[in-house]
Symmetry: C2
Subunit: 264 residues, 2 copies
């Protein structure tokens, strides 16, 4: 029955306007690295300046946004730091993953990640850096399109074709020349991943980066997966298999820890 609200190209139904705006401000400042003026934000959000002004005053008073000394540029405040880390501490999967990621990072020597599917994106929940000098960039909280990452494909491989069709926005966004964009290609890759037990990203998200991921199965909060990424120069096909089995082992350990937790 919620189709009614979404139909007619309409606004969201019963939303509290200023509540939604607060969240939109946080998302805006979080995305663009901050440093925006009131006028810039108002136009970006299509909200009257005067309305946004009152909201920003409230947020500033509570230290959720900072105003620079000139009084003209807003950025995220210190209170914003609290929520991110608190989310991770309150999450069973993320907090149990620590030791597993440590082990996996040590075994492989490469960058390893815990990711979670959120809509059409994958969000990094935790990471361990590669010990090599040549590193890939990543950050906890960062989002990447699910269809272009091993993590995303690992999670999606647990769903059936109809579910995948429903969840993603077609056509898929292209990030590199190798990004898969059509449903047929993606579904074929997912089927392969399902059989094999792990998903592959071969330069589909960042050129020259190969990445292997294994889904964690039914976790309370949607779909999680573990991955290991490295530059192609350190990840030939043979090495890929090695890494995949290490990641599979780590995923198995984490699943075991989660089961144990579930039984109190």
């Amino acid at each position: 029955m919620d189709a009614v609200t979404e139909a007619a190209g309409g606004r969201k139904a019963d939303e509290v306007k200023s509540a939604a705006r607060v969240l939109e401000v946080l998302e805006l400042l979080g995305r663009d690295g901050a440093r925006l003026s009131l006028a810039e934000m108002a136009s970006a959000m299509s909200v009257p300046k005067s309305s946004l002004h009152a909201i920003l005053r409230t947020m500033q008073a509570r230290r959720w946004v900072d105003l620079d000394s000139a009084g003209t540029r807003y950025s995220l405040g210190l209170k914003a730091l609290l929520t991110g880390t608190a989310y991770l501490e309150g999450d069973d999967v993320a907090s149990l993953a620590g030791p597993v990621l440590d082990t996996l990072a040590e075994e492989t020597g490469e960058a390893v990640h815990l990711g979670r599917l959120d809509g059409t994106d994958v969000v990094y929940l935790a990471k361990r850096e590669s010990r090599h000098a040549l590193r890939m960039y990543s950050a906890v909280g960062r989002r990447l399109p699910a269809h272009a990452t091993a993590l995303g494909k690992a999670v999606l491989s647990q769903y059936d074709a109809a579910e995948v069709q429903r969840r993603l926005n077609w056509p898929l966004e292209r990030l590199t020349p190798d990004t898969v964009t059509g449903p047929d290609d993606l579904l074929a890759q997912l089927a392969e991943a399902r059989l094999r037990g792990w998903a592959l990203d071969d330069g589909e998200n960042a050129v020259d980066i190969r990445c292997v991921a294994v889904p964690l199965g039914a976790t309370p909060s949607g779909g999680d997966a573990l991955s290991c990424s490295a530059p192609r120069s350190r990840m030939d096909d043979a090495r890929l298999e090695e890494v995949a089995s290490a990641v599979t082992g780590a995923a198995h350990s984490l699943r075991t820890l989660l089961k144990r937790l579930g039984q109190h």
Copy 2:
């Protein structure tokens, strides 16, 4: 000129009610590790259930809070993860501190922190873990009273007595038997820290933990400091001096990096 707003023992001036409530929800879920029901939150915040209900619906639709499968317990959502890390990425001090902390952690082998004063609290902006098995607990985003931490005292030692009196809430909260609570004791410690160049926390915040901190001087966003913490068993007076000089060196490096950045 910001004294005007704080003066007059001010009631909340023009706050947008639902905006303030959104932030309060995030703070509440962030503090208590989440898992709260609507009724619990409503009573904790002294807000009618029905009002909070609409706000939580809005937050849930945007994935800033999650509702468990039973539909009765709220926790932080995935969007909350974005702001915390974005704050750190947008902050010059925090992003330059990485390598400096790495070096300091390697030199000392103990837990090292970058902290920032926020009101009467110190917030951890970054940390590196001790390499010993016996570790102290800490987390980025976590808050501790400034007067009971080396980080807080390091920052406060840069202000004069009147400023310190004004900034803190007297009497100071007692966390351990050794916490200083009176103005005279604290001001004496701050004067000592100013002369010596580093501040000390000797079990005033957590029993058996000793911590050394050095202020970073005038940073754009208030007061920052670097610290190194260890259990008393690994931190006798001689070791304290050693560690203090390592932290001082690290603080100097970081100040140099910041100056260089300031000159483009």
